[in-house]
Amino acid sequence: MKARSILYLVLIYGFLYVPVVLLVMFSFNRSKLNAVWTGFTFEWYGRLLHNGAVLDAAKNSLIVAAVSTVVATMIGTLAAVGMYRYHFRGKTVLDGLLYTVIIIPEIVMGIALLAFFALAGVPLGIFTLIAAHITFCIPFVAVIVRARLAGFDRSLEEAALDLGASEWQTFRHVTLPIIMPGIMAGALLAFTLSIDDVIISFFVAGPAGTTLPLKIYSMVKFGVTPEINALSTMMLLLTLTLVVIAERIRLRK
């Protein structure tokens, strides 16, 4: 690579990473001011553990992410298998709807669900959050599993059937193991999307369902504090772990 190219890469990666690295650094800073380094401390992390509202938000986030991931992965995987295998009436419509869910501005989906829950008389909270998160996760799982199915040799299934396996056995022992990496990648993606979501959650959470990003949002509105840095750092760490696992699964195929 030319020196010019390397310099350009360094500049852009610097632009991408320096703000985040500073944020992480100041989460360990003794001064409250978030501007000058004065010494190392874990104090802000300790404070988070005694902050009831933050712990509640963390609990909500994990419950919502876990439940939505499981449900969205099941529905999305079934959808991918069904759409790969069968032709049925309305397939194009369903396909188009799934892509619309992905591409629609999140704010429109947020207010649509808010209006829906309000007019249906469903009180906002964990339940509405989970329903919303399942909805925006399903298409991502379906797309990823379908991409995995597209590269799949159908004669393997036929061979299993010819050798006397039942349809369920064929699915369980041939199809499922082959598409498993796709399902895992889809589930990890769903979990990340759910745990990071701000905009849709903002509308459907209600006072009872504050999640971590929503908690960060309301904290940032009141000003910059090292506790926010500490909380952000922990969320970054979680995302980083999930991304690295997802990439390893992706590269293994």
């Binding site: 978030n34 501007a35 959808a79 069968y86 309305g90 207010i111 949002y217 910059v224």
Partner: protein, 281 residues
């Protein structure tokens, strides 16, 4: 496999999407033609007023400014993202996965946290101002936050990876043999770029632009947190109609306009890129 048939695989997704996506969207469309009630509720009388209000200069201006900001964000991301994606796609194979991972990580990182990182950097008592004052380069803090420039930086920073990933995908697919051929036939480097590279990577450019343009319109928290008191984009307008002004019919109409704008752009995309929708994500 007839037993494990379409019914069992397709009904859950069809039912779920119908109830939690199609019905709510239909509802927004319906409410956008209703009248606002006296105390912020919805009165079920048909009206076109909510759409007519867009011709009010105040709201027309918000719509226009939002499109302008989205266009600026998209251009910035494309201008800096294209050479970047090109270098990464043409880098030695052994580094490429690492370089790509370094773009994927910000892609998945919470956009709110990334916005907060810039607030820490730019605010009056922030890292940059403190450093510049210590160095004696400025006497008092520069007003770097709470203006339109800050909103633009925040948006471009948040959405940059969404531009780079599709660009990378289309540049990586480009066969270098075409470029060599153009060169052998006497094309100058910029001619090769304009007539070979650019057209062949157009799907990536359009997909990336779409992935930046559309979310820009809806990311209400960046203007909220980084913009001045007057920073109002279409996302903030929708949010305010639903939460503070309690004018759901008008908020719904704005959402429908935003949705129409989005679908229009996707139609343009589908036309330029054929029907290769897998490239969108």
């Amino acid at each position: 496999m007839k037993k494990f048939g379409p019914v069992w695989t397709i009904s859950p997704v069809a039912l779920w999407i119908a109830v939690f996506f199609s019905v709510p969207l239909g509802l927004v469309l319906f409410v956008s033609f209703m009248t606002r009630g006296l105390y912020g509720g919805i009165e079920y009388t048909f009206t076109l007023d909510n759409y007519v209000r867009f011709f009010d200069p105040l709201y027309g201006k918000i719509l226009w400014e939002s499109v302008l900001v989205a266009a600026c964000t998209t251009s910035l991301c494309l201008l800096f993202g294209y050479p970047f994606a090109y270098i990464v796609a043409r880098s030695p194979r052994k580094y490429r996965n690492l370089l790509l991972l370094l773009i994927v990580i910000p892609f998945w990182t919470n956009s709110l946290i990334r916005t907060y990182a810039w607030i820490v950097l730019l605010r009056t008592e922030g890292v940059l101002n403190t450093a510049l004052m210590k160095l004696g380069l400025i006497a008092e803090p520069l007003p770097m936050l709470y203006n339109d420039g800050a909103v633009l930086v925040g948006l471009a920073y948040t959405l940059f990876p969404f531009m780079v990933l599709p660009l990378y995908a289309s540049i990586e697919k480009l066969d270098p043999a075409y470029l060599e051929a153009a060169g052998d036939l006497g094309a100058k480097p910029w001619q090769t770029f304009m007539h070979v590279t650019l057209p062949l990577t157009a799907p990536g450019i359009v997909a990336g632009s779409l992935l930046v343009f559309v979310p820009t319109l809806g990311l209400f928290f960046i203007p909220d947190l980084m913009g001045g008191s007057k920073s109002m984009l279409i996302g903030n307008l929708i949010k305010n109609q639903f939460l503070s002004a309690r004018d759901w019919p008008f908020g719904s109409a704005v959402s429908i306009v935003l949705m129409a704008l989005t679908l229009l752009m996707i139609a343009v995309y589908a036309k330029t890129a054929g029907n290769d929708r897998d490239g969108v994500i």
